[in-house]
């Protein structure tokens, strides 16, 4: 029975191409069950080989279609896709519909996993890098991550890739939206998809004009026209992604980026951990006592927080 196998056994099977084992490992890190820490540990140790590509952009721009096509043209033996969709904030449920557009083109060659944003309250940014590393450590390459580029969290997830592709469609609206959402800053490559529609060239020109206003470091994001549902422009898009990967490797930027990401992840996890501890401490006896003193106006809320914070970082510090 799969559920009784240890993370190490599952990794061994996953590396041999057992998709069920890989599926189960992803569930372990995603759901943070008892083995999650061990799985994440193993994954991190063995990861770092895959090319990690983020695909982001407004809803319906063609991200899944592009992702499926890229998985095929990438030429990797074992491409993997992580498709992230928002959950309903009301019910926690989600409709994960990205596979439909991918299956058409991928026809079984890629490992595709859908992931909902819920269940991760603040931890999504932690679950996604873990999942990427599980795929990487299992020997998948490339690992393509699709997210809807709407909020700050999604954008930061997109930035968790080595190379981030921002997808826009013809029409000024999108470019302006992309600008607002902070997508222009995270873009390493632009795809103007639905180039079969009028004014795709205009959209490219608009982007180039924005890029003229200033781009980061030694890399100017190229703009590729794609008609993803027909597969047009996809090889060129992949070539630009590869060119960016090469640029990262040559310039040491890859290590710098990954280093920055590791740092962000550690900070994020410290914050999550501290938030959890904060809740524990406020519900503890000393928390109740401190709150009582605030209510009686013996000490200010700030002083109470300082007191509790001291016991948090002193008494119940990270080493304990």
């Amino acid at each position: 029975m799969l559920s009784t196998r240890s993370p190490d056994e599952l990794f061994a099977a996953a590396r041999d191409g057992n998709r069920r084992a890989l599926g189960r490992l992803l569930t372990m890190v995603e759901r943070r069950d008892d083995n999650a820490g061990l799985v994440a540990e193993r994954a991190h140790r063995d990861a770092g080989h895959a090319r990690v590509v983020g695909i982001t952009g407004a809803p319906g721009t063609g991200k899944s279609t592009i992702t499926g096509r890229l998985a095929v043209v990438s030429g990797g033996d074992r491409p993997a896709v992580l498709a992230i969709d928002p959950s309903s904030p009301l019910t926690g449920g989600a409709i994960l519909g990205d596979r439909i557009r991918m299956d058409d083109h991928v026809s079984g060659s890629a490992f595709i996993r859908s992931m909902a944003t819920r269940g991760h309250a603040g931890g999504l940014a932690a679950a996604v890098p873990d999942a990427i590393r599980v795929l990487d450590a299992a020997g998948c390459d490339p690992v393509i991550v699709e997210t809807v580029g709407v909020g700050q969290v999604e954008v930061s997830i997109a930035a968790a890739a080595d190379t981030t592709v921002v997808v826009v469609t013809p029409g000024w609206g999108d470019a302006v939206q992309a600008n607002k959402a902070g997508l222009l800053e995270v873009a390493d490559v632009f795809a103007v998809n639905k180039a079969d529609r009028p004014d795709a060239r205009g959209a490219r020109r608009d982007l180039e004009l924005m890029l003229d206003l200033g781009h980061r470091g030694g890399w100017r994001a190229p703009v590729v026209l794609t008609t993803a549902n027909r597969g047009e422009g996809i090889e060129e898009l992949w070539a630009e992604i590869e060119r960016h990967t090469a640029h990262l490797r040559e310039s040491d930027e890859l290590l710098r980026r990954r280093g920055r990401r590791h740092r962000d992840e550690v900070v994020n996890r410290i914050e999550l951990g501290l938030r959890g501890r904060a809740r524990q401490i406020i519900e503890s006896r000393s928390g109740a006592a401190a709150l009582g003193r605030v209510d009686r106006r013996e000490i200010s809320p700030g002083a109470a927080a300082d007191m509790l914070l001291n016991s948090l970082t002193g008494g119940a510090g990270p080493e304990s």
Binding site: M1, L2, S3, R19, R20, L22, G23, R24, L26, T27, R31, R32, D33, D34, A36, G37, L38, A40, E41, S87, S88, T91, G92, G93, A94, I95, L96, G97, R99, I100, D103, G108, F111, I112, R113, S114, A116, R118, G119, G123, A126, R269, I270, L272, G273, G276
Partner: protein, 147 residues
């Protein structure tokens, strides 16, 4: 209380949404009904991996493995259910998966016992209410022997 491997994140096990793979088997028609079911299940707090039209038993099994699905929901509106549904159940078993199959669609009442005998966990008629759909799916998961 001390988390393993310095893992500071809280465990959320126990409040996990059920993951259901939803598909239409065979070559027929549209997926309007299936989309309604998808929304119903989402609104009940489930995670719906939506495969849509023209799926085969093999493509559904492949998706279930990758998605680590808890249950399969199939919509059928053709006369093929007596062969297709058992084939689906067999494909799941053959893959060594322990995933119940729930069927919805136009199934003559007389065929329901046949499908149940073939291992289908539940059969929902076209008039099934949202509550009936949700409870058929969640109960099928709850009845599973192992996980």
């Amino acid at each position: 209380m001390e988390p393993a491997n310095g893992d500071v994140l809280p465990t959320v096990a126990g409040e996990l949404p059920i993951r259901v793979v939803l598909a239409k088997l065979g070559l027929d028609g549209h997926d309007r009904g299936l989309k309604v079911v998808a929304r119903t299940l989402r609104d009940a707090g489930l995670e719906v991996v939506y495969l849509g039209l023209r799926q085969t038993a093999d493509s559904i099994v492949a998706a279930c493995e990758q998605e680590d699905a808890d249950v399969i929901g199939l919509s059928m509106h053709n006369a093929g259910h007596l062969t297709l549904a058992p084939r689906m159940v067999q494909a799941v078993e053959k893959a060594g998966l322990d995933i119940p199959v729930v069927i919805g669609g136009i199934v003559p009442t007389g065929d329901v016992p046949v499908l149940r005998a073939a291992g289908v966990a539940a059969v929902l008629g076209p008039g099934a209410s949202a509550e009936e759909v949700v409870s058929a799916v969640t109960e099928a998961v709850a009845r599973r022997v192992t996980r």
